[in-house]
Amino acid sequence: MRITNIRPIFSIGLSALILLGCSSPPLRSGQAVPSAQKPIAETIKEEQKSIAVTNIFYKKEGANVKYVEEISNKYDSNASISGTASNAEKPGADSKNSDSKDIFSDIQTSAFPIKFTNISDFKPSDHPSIQKELEARLAADGIPVPPPSQNSSPVGSVNASSQLIKKAGIEKQAEYGQLRSFSAAIRGLLIKSGYKVVMANTAVPAANQGDDFFQVVERIKAGEFNGADYVMFGVLGEMSFTDNVEDIPGTKSTSQQIGLDLIVDFSLIDTKTYQVIVSFLAEGNGKEVRIDGRGNGFKPSMAKLMKQASVTLAEDVAKHLADQNFVTSTIAEPEIGRNYKRKPYDDDSTTLKIYTK
């Protein structure tokens, strides 16, 4: 009896041990839990890490067609004095649509009100600045300075020769700065979601800095983000204003649509490792629609357009942050505007009738 009872117990115990051996090892505390789907910002929230959102950086490029007329004067004392007699500028021209040869020929056909100087008529005394500099140079060389003469002929002791130089070309200009009105909504969105947001210092473009203005890593190293763990850095791609009038089908009315559209290139950078955590292109749109607006002297409100563009930009940013698993999708997807299915109306059951043959 005893032997027969022990055998089944022994075999059950052995099989249980085998099963335990085959099963996967249990997770221990301290071991990393696979969290591929866990939003990064949830960790940031838990660890109370901070995010700084910069204003939106921009670079505005332009080109001017420039014309310079220069007179170079030479004297027997080997002193050479140059002075700009006149210059002409044609602003607003786009370098892509302009050609330097065409510009020059345009200038030659007296499109610009330029006074050309006859070299033989040149008198240093007619130009006080040149006369002053000439006197100073002659004095420095120990040559006696002749008194200023009312005579139109050059002074006997000074032989002067003039050379007229005309220059034309395209002068490129670049303006760097920050747009301050479009980041507040993004900061607000992160604050509302429970993230710690710190203020970034305002970046001021330095002279001859060029595209180094966009060097966010240098700014991080310089401590311009007040110890933030992450920096959300945005650079304006394009900004445009539109004003269109269209007929509204099925009506006798028209709609005037005034729009402000902007595209911003965003990067979220880890300030410790300089790793780009999230990167995307976000879009903001402000739109004002006026029915039958054209011809009524309607003027759109820029403030309204900017606010709308700012809010839509923040919404798009939230959507992209959720897409790249940085924030939870609940921030990105507001419940407004969803068409939930409703229960059927309580109605007479005879409303829907089936007709049979």
Partner: protein
């Protein structure tokens, strides 16, 4: 014979009085069943309208685009072309289908092109008159665009002899995805009617 003469007069006067009474009375008015089958003529009638609308609404609600959608898709009604020789108000058919679909709660309808003038006038009144409190104004630029549109046609074939008139109607309805241009659903309802002398 003399006694029968006054009797005849009485009969004549009575008959005339009855005729006068009948002439003075108006037509008899009664309520009927709106859903009752109507077979007065072979022309398009109320029973046809009801059967078409019911069949189409039921079929449309069973389609995967609507029954399988998590949200209620937005739909607008485009034209239903009348290709018959009769005068048929096709708007009544589409309105009836729309009512039945709306009652189901499975679909939401955006205003169609025929209703746009009223919609635009109302938006203009609220937004541009300056009379309304800003927070209560239905703002311009927030209308919802329909994801799908319903459009179709009704056609007929009529054959007639001296004693028999045969009419065949076919009503086609399509559900089209506005963005992709894809035909998501289509169905038809056939009706045959004939009259004999």
């Amino acid at each position: 014979m003399n006694s029968s003469y006054p009797n005849k007069l009485i009969y004549i006067f009575s008959g005339l009085a009855l005729l006068a009474l009948a002439a003075c009375s108006g037509p008899q008015v009664r309520y009927g069943d709106a859903k009752a089958v109507e077979t007065i003529t072979v022309d398009y009638g109320s029973t046809d309208l009801q059967s078409i609308a019911e069949a189409m609404a039921r079929s449309l609600l069973q389609t995967k685009v609507i029954s399988g959608s998590k949200d209620a898709p937005t739909v607008t009604v485009a034209d239903v072309k009348n290709k018959t020789s009769e005068y048929i108000d096709t708007r009544v058919i589409t309105d009836k289908i729309r009512t039945q679909l709306l009652k189901s709660g499975q679909v939401r309808f955006a205003v169609n092109i025929n209703e746009m003038q009223n919609q635009v006038d109302e938006l203009k009144r609220q937004n541009q008159s300056g009379l309304y409190k800003n927070s209560t104004v239905s703002k311009t630029g927030n209308m919802q665009g329909a994801k799908y549109r319903i459009e179709g046609s009704i056609s007929s074939i009529v054959k007639q002899t001296k004693d028999v008139k045969d009419v065949y109607y076919v009503f086609n309805l399509n559900l089209i995805n506005n963005e992709s241009g894809l035909l998501e659903w289509a169905d038809e309802k056939e009706i045959r009617k004939f009259a004999t002398r």
